[in-house]
């Protein structure tokens, strides 16, 4: 039931005739990857009345390229433009060293409805790997393209794709003391940005609910830090924490029933867990130091948080029921804002050493730390739901920008707002999987 609603919201999110235009995020790939799979995505053919609103082939090629796992052939280098299997001559593609080939066709059905058919081929074997046709609409066409990218990515890498997901982030414009802040949600490729909250006072720490329908965040709109939860589709929001002192660092439990948060109502910042149904609080830390930035392990059994109980900020781990906390970071003089990889085996964090703040990965089994970013003021790491990419905030001259880096550190994409700063990006959970029914039958072709 929930997933059906989520799907509906995603559909509606693409159709926004009355919303104000938002500053678009643009993505540029700043580092290429050796060893990426050569693939060709042929521009999709068009049938029927009315040009389709989106270039599906270009969106798929851009998605695959951005992942760093694929090297799509530039369109100008295409020797042929087949739209279905029987038009494919595999020798054309073998000559170019292409290993995967994507062809397809968009059929306009009228009234803004379309059917998108696509096929993926193994060029060396001359065989079809998958083929589907998917009904879609004008409003939904980008999403359909991202879903096709997900299907191709999963078929060729064995891992689930995260192209049909979203990011939430904070955009800031203007100079102090007259800055404006907005909480925005866009597609994972930066398209279709929508402001879901605008404020003259600071906003920070957006956090997705596990079902992807709501965001918790911290706002200063009432002149101090308070936590709200807002439903993305309706804009409806609710004040969740407004205790004396700080109300910060909201983090949803994996089952969505509880919120870990930081409150200083008892004197100094401590970690609490709030039951969202009953609104009851359980205090988990009791310490004169700063305890903040709780995050849940993916199985919900443990919390990792930042504390300076040892003198400098470091990460600690404790049971989600409280009790003793054990320090887990020992390299570097500053480690904060930990976030679990989806498989729970690693933490991404802000890693400070010698006055340089970078994003690093901590292997929770071995304790090994691997630095992933290369600037000096990097912060706010967030994993894509498939664990393949980490998005984080950094600076480009005086501008705040976002960078997405593959967990192996080899691919880097930069996301820049047209104006102002962008920061604190958090990647949404997976949306519902697309139901695929119509398989395009493997077709004979020229071997």
């Amino acid at each position: 039931m929930l997933t059906r609603h989520h799907l509906l919201y995603c559909l509606l999110a693409l159709w926004l005739p009355c919303s104000g235009a938002q500053a678009a995020l643009t993505i540029e790939i700043t580092e290429g990857v050796p060893g990426a799979l050569p693939i060709a995505v042929v521009p999709f053919g068009v049938e029927g009345q009315g040009a389709p609103p989106e270039d599906i082939g270009a969106i798929i090629a851009a998605d695959l390229k951005r992942s760093g796992r694929f090297a799509p052939l530039p369109e100008r280098d295409l020797l042929a433009r087949p739209h279905e299997g029987r038009e494919v001559n595999f020798r054309d593609w073998r000559v170019l060293g292409i290993e995967g080939l994507v062809v397809g066709r968009i059929r306009a059905m009228g009234a803004g409805q379309y059917t998108v058919q696509f096929q993926l081929f193994n060029v060396f074997q001359g065989t079809q790997l998958i083929g589907y046709s998917i009904p879609t609409s004008t409003a939904d066409m980008r999403r359909t393209a991202h879903q096709i990218s997900d299907i191709i990515y999963e078929k060729l890498t064995g891992e689930r794709g995260a192209f049909n997901t979203r990011i939430a982030y904070i955009a800031v414009s203007g100079k102090p003391p007259a800055q404006t802040h907005s909480l925005q949600v866009s597609d994972a490729d930066g398209h279709n940005p929508q402001s879901i909250l605008n404020s003259k006072q600071p906003l920070l720490s957006p956090a997705w609910s596990p079902d992807g329908t709501r965001l918790a965040y911290v706002t200063f709109e009432n002149k101090r830090a308070q936590i709200y939860i807002q439903e993305i589709a309706s804009g409806k929001r609710e004040l969740i924490a407004s205790y004396p002192g700080l109300n910060g660092a909201p983090a949803w439990s994996p089952d969505g029933t509880r919120l870990a948060l930081t409150l200083s109502k008892d004197g100094n910042p401590e970690i609490y867990v709030m039951s969202l149904a009953a609104r009851t609080l359980q205090r988990l830390t009791s310490n004169l130091a700063i305890d903040t930035e709780p995050v849940w392990s993916p199985d919900g059994s443990a919390l990792v948080f930042t504390s300076d109980r040892g003198g400098r900020p470091q990460l600690y781990r404790m049971s989600a029921n409280g009790g003793e906390a054990a320090r887990i970071t020992f390299e570097g003089d500053y480690n904060a804002r930990g976030v679990f990889s989806p498989d729970g085996k690693q933490l991404a964090m802000v890693h400070g050493t010698g006055g340089q703040y970078r994003i690093a990965l901590l292997d929770l089994k071995t304790g090994a730390v691997r630095v992933l970013s290369d600037r000096t003021l990097d912060e706010s790491p967030s994993f894509a739901p498939n664990g393949a990419i980490i998005i984080y905030a950094t600076n480009e001259g005086t501008r705040g920008t976002l960078t997405a880096v593959s967990v192996d550190g080899r691919v880097r994409n930069r996301l820049l707002l047209q104006e102002g700063d962008v920061r604190e990006a958090v990647w949404s959970p997976f949306g519902p999987r697309i139901t695929l029914q119509t398989d395009t039958k493997p077709q004979s072709s020229n071997p």
Binding site: N198, V218, N268, R337
Partner: protein
Amino acid sequence: MQFFIKLLLLSVSAVALAGCQSTATKPSAAAVEDRSSAADGGATTASAMDGDGAFRGDALDNPSSPLSRRVIYFELDSSEVKQEDRATVSAHARYLAGNPNAAVAVEGHADERGSREYNLALGERRGNAVRQLLLAEGAAAKQLQVVSYGEEKPVTLGHDEGSWQQNRRVEIVYTSRR
């Protein structure tokens, strides 16, 4: 006639609005009312110089009083009020003690380095350090409200030590003068 035109315009805009409302399930931007108010500068206070140069009026407006200093700066990751700032804090404590209806917001801030939520906590710790000194020197708890903005309200946007020094601060903001 004019009334009729107005009515017509009204109904046109009502239709336009209704058009928007029909997409109410879109992610709509929640509007946030800005409740910030500069209480510190809200009331106009008359002040003047005597012929002999002595300041008359509210001591808070005397530019040569230590009360004119309302910002206290901190070292990196520190919440210790430096010796050189103690006199400033003492002056505010004495003013608050002598004006029991005066009140201040003690606003703690951090520079941009490190994580935002840790800096929010650090700003609060700085605010509390100033609050403790104010209490020790005669201010009453009900006159003091600590608020941390962390790194979210920088004075200056530079990414260098000079800018960071200016941003690591506590501001004493009078919300009520006497």
